[in-house]
């Protein structure tokens, strides 16, 4: 059986219409050249290079070394014969021709696999891997990283030495189990804000400190921030974000801008929900610290009530990296209730709290 092909000798662009005969060990190409001479060329099957990409109605092969001899054919008989024959497995692309048999079904299945794999990676593999990585990071590295972050942040902070010292005394008197040494800083700033930096640094703005009414509220604030430090929340967040972004960039590397925007926004939503999870963890663990210090557990919901009264606007929960304050008040109140503890007066803490309060009266 012969098949019609076009042959190119790799020396000239001249297209030679010819015939191809297939044998198990060699292929035979025959054509008549411009001087009416019959030319016969043999290709050793072991050295034939297929085009390695499927497109309907065309098949092509290369042979030899650069710049190669080439044959090209749109002969359906040849295309079908090569794909189905058992003698030419090396030049076949059975997997691809299988994929192209029923295109809609294949596309549907491929998309299904992509979605399931991506969902599995995002919800299971990435959280597990980044959690494992951060938990096993050495304490020294976490402290070092935190210190360099704090050094660049502290440039813009106006630290109040007196308040800082008194607040540090208060913190030192709290019973906490933290593997990092806690260093508190009070920054003069009217904003209602506080944050923790990996490795043990906490910054509280004087604007927020001034609004607090009891030692339990202050302890609630500090225990919330300490939980962020102890549980390495900032690093967990960064690590998850980074690995998520890398995976996402593999996923959307080849797709157009608009599609990328869809994926990036979906991912951002997921990230925000993770940040809210971490905040909630810090709230709940903070109550545990209050309990250990026999302080009023309602200090936590009271703290959020103060925040709520002092901030003018509220972002809807799913658009924010913190849970909505009403939500936080609700769940901390209900947790505080379940413990049914009666707070005792912790005179050491009370005295230190009074000392802090006195700094605002001057």
């Amino acid at each position: 059986m012969t098949y019609s092909i076009h042959y190119f000798d790799g020396k000239s662009s001249k297209k030679h219409a010819g015939d191809l005969t297939l044998h198990a060990n060699f292929w035979c190409i025959e054509y008549t050249d411009s001087q009416n001479k019959k030319i016969k060329i043999l290709w050793n099957t072991k050295e034939i290079i297929p085009s390695e990409v499927y497109s309907e109605g065309i098949i092509s092969f290369k042979y030899g070394t650069f710049p190669f001899q080439t044959i090209e054919s749109n002969d359906e008989n040849l295309i079908n014969y090569i794909q189905e024959s058992n003698s030419f497995t090396k030049v076949q692309n059975r997997f691809d021709s299988l994929l192209h048999k029923s295109r809609i079904k294949t596309i549907f299945l491929l998309c299904l696999f992509i979605v399931s794999f991506a969902v599995f990676t995002f919800t299971y593999i990435i959280p597990k891997v980044s959690e494992f990585f951060i938990t096993n990071l050495s304490k020294e590295y976490v402290t070092h990283f935190g210190n360099s972050v704090f050094n660049s942040l502290s440039v813009g902070l106006d630290i109040d030495q007196d308040k800082t010292e008194k607040l540090q005394n208060f913190t030192d008197a709290l019973k906490i189990n933290c593997s990092f040494p806690i260093k508190i800083h009070v920054a003069t700033n009217n904003q209602i804000n506080a944050f923790a930096v990996s490795g043990g640094k906490i910054v509280i703005y004087s604007g927020l400190l001034e609004k607090l009414e009891t030692e339990a509220q202050l302890a609630a604030l500090i225990s919330h921030e300490i939980t962020h430090i102890e549980k390495r929340h900032a690093l967990k967040n960064v690590s998850r974000n980074l690995s998520g972004m890398i995976f996402l960039s593999i996923l959307i590397g080849d797709v157009s801008g608009i599609t990328a925007v869809f994926f990036e926004n979906a991912y951002l939503f997921k990230e925000l929900s993770y940040s809210r999870e971490l905040e909630k963890e810090a709230d709940i663990n903070g109550i545990e610290i209050l309990k250990k210090n026999q302080l009023d557990l309602n200090g936590m919901p009271q703290l959020f009530t103060i925040l709520k009264n002092e901030t003018n606007f509220e972002i809807t929960s799913y658009l924010s990296n913190h849970p909505a304050l009403d939500e936080r008040i609700e769940y901390t109140t209900s947790i505080a209730k379940t413990y049914k503890t009666t707070p005792k007066t912790n005179s050491a803490l009370k005295g230190k709290w009074k000392a802090i309060q006195s700094t605002f009266k001057n």
Partner: protein
């Protein structure tokens, strides 16, 4: 002189495009899946398969184009690029977080960006040489004969002037790179040139900048038509001292329907239609480009081949998301 075929040489040649959205979608989604499962290691093979597909479905004078590069070549290129980036990024991380030394941080950043910029001309050179070497039609390979240091000097001068002129020189730089590349590409006895001028390109961009807001963005379609025509119609081919032109038949209306339909397809399928829009775009470009002039395509002789298998320049541009076309 011997006349090889009895038929007269046609004066107009059109491209035939056989790409199909559903066919490309299989390649596209298959590659996304393989990239995900291998965490991106498969990317070089995916890139080569897509290039091979785009070439194989494009036909001129009854013969398909051929991309003869391999995933292995592209992969080796990526290993070099990644080695470079890993070394540099670790240096950057070290200087910013561990050392805490500000001078070192500044030096690290400046060196990093300067080096990235200075490597671009070498990457352009490598990329064009690799792609030319791996592109063939009728068994004849393209050949790029540009000289690396010439491209470097051209870009260095261009980058500096672009910075000094706040970007204005960018149009002239774009044109001079194009001209340098095209005048150094050979396809057998066919040579190329680019006749566009920097001021024409600058004017196209300027008009776009001025009219975009006034026309609420509608001018974009005329702009795309102008750019398409500028880049394609200014390419000239020469064979046996005869000039052959490229003509573009696309109208702004055609571009309008291409862009709007692509946009709607992407938005309403949440991006699933991306492969179909890619094929629509290539089809539009190729079916609207015509080779105008006498071109003897039957007797092109292969020049001493340039078997250039180093894809790192091409990979570098891909890594930075710079596309030459």
């Amino acid at each position: 002189m011997e006349i090889i075929s009895g038929e007269p040489t046609p004066t107009k040649r059109e491209f035939n495009y056989f790409g199909k959205g559903s066919e490309f979608a299989i390649i596209f989604f298959k590659n996304i899946l393989l990239n995900l499962v291998t965490l991106g290691i498969y990317y070089p093979w995916a890139k080569v398969e897509q290039l091979k597909y785009f070439y194989q479905v494009t036909e001129l004078n009854g013969v398909r184009f051929n991309f003869t590069g391999t995933g292995k070549e592209v992969f080796k290129g990526y290993l070099k690029i990644y080695a470079f980036f890993i070394i540099f990024i670790s240096f950057l991380l070290y200087s910013t977080t561990i050392s805490g030394n500000e001078t070192l941080t500044i030096i690290a950043f400046v060196t990093f960006y300067a080096l990235l910029l200075l490597l671009i001309p070498f990457a352009i050179h490598g990329s064009i040489r690799y792609r030319s070497s791996r592109s063939s039609w009728s068994g004849i390979h393209f050949k790029y004969t540009g000289i690396r240091m010439e491209m470097f000097r051209l870009c260095l001068k261009g980058f500096l002037l672009t910075i000094i002129t706040f970007g204005i020189y960018g149009s002239w730089l774009n044109v001079s790179i194009r001209k340098y590349i095209l005048t150094h590409i050979k396809f057998g006895n066919i040579t190329f040139d680019f006749k566009g001028k920097g001021d024409e390109l600058f004017w196209i961009h300027l008009k776009f900048g001025l009219l975009f807001y006034i026309t609420l963005g509608i001018y974009t379609f005329w702009y795309l038509e102008n750019i398409f025509k500028f880049y394609v119609e200014n390419i000239k081919m020469y064979q046996n001292e005869k000039e052959v032109k490229f003509k573009v038949n696309a109208s702004s209306g055609g571009i309008f329907s291409l862009v709007i339909v692509n946009l709607l397809l992407i938005v309403f399928t949440l991006g699933l239609a991306t492969p179909w829009t890619v094929i629509r775009t290539y089809k539009f470009i190729l079916e609207n480009s015509v080779i105008d002039g006498e071109l003897d395509l039957n007797s092109i002789e292969q020049l001493g081949g340039d078997d250039y298998d180093d894809a790192s320049g091409d990979d570098f541009l891909d890594f930075l998301d710079l596309d030459l076309l």
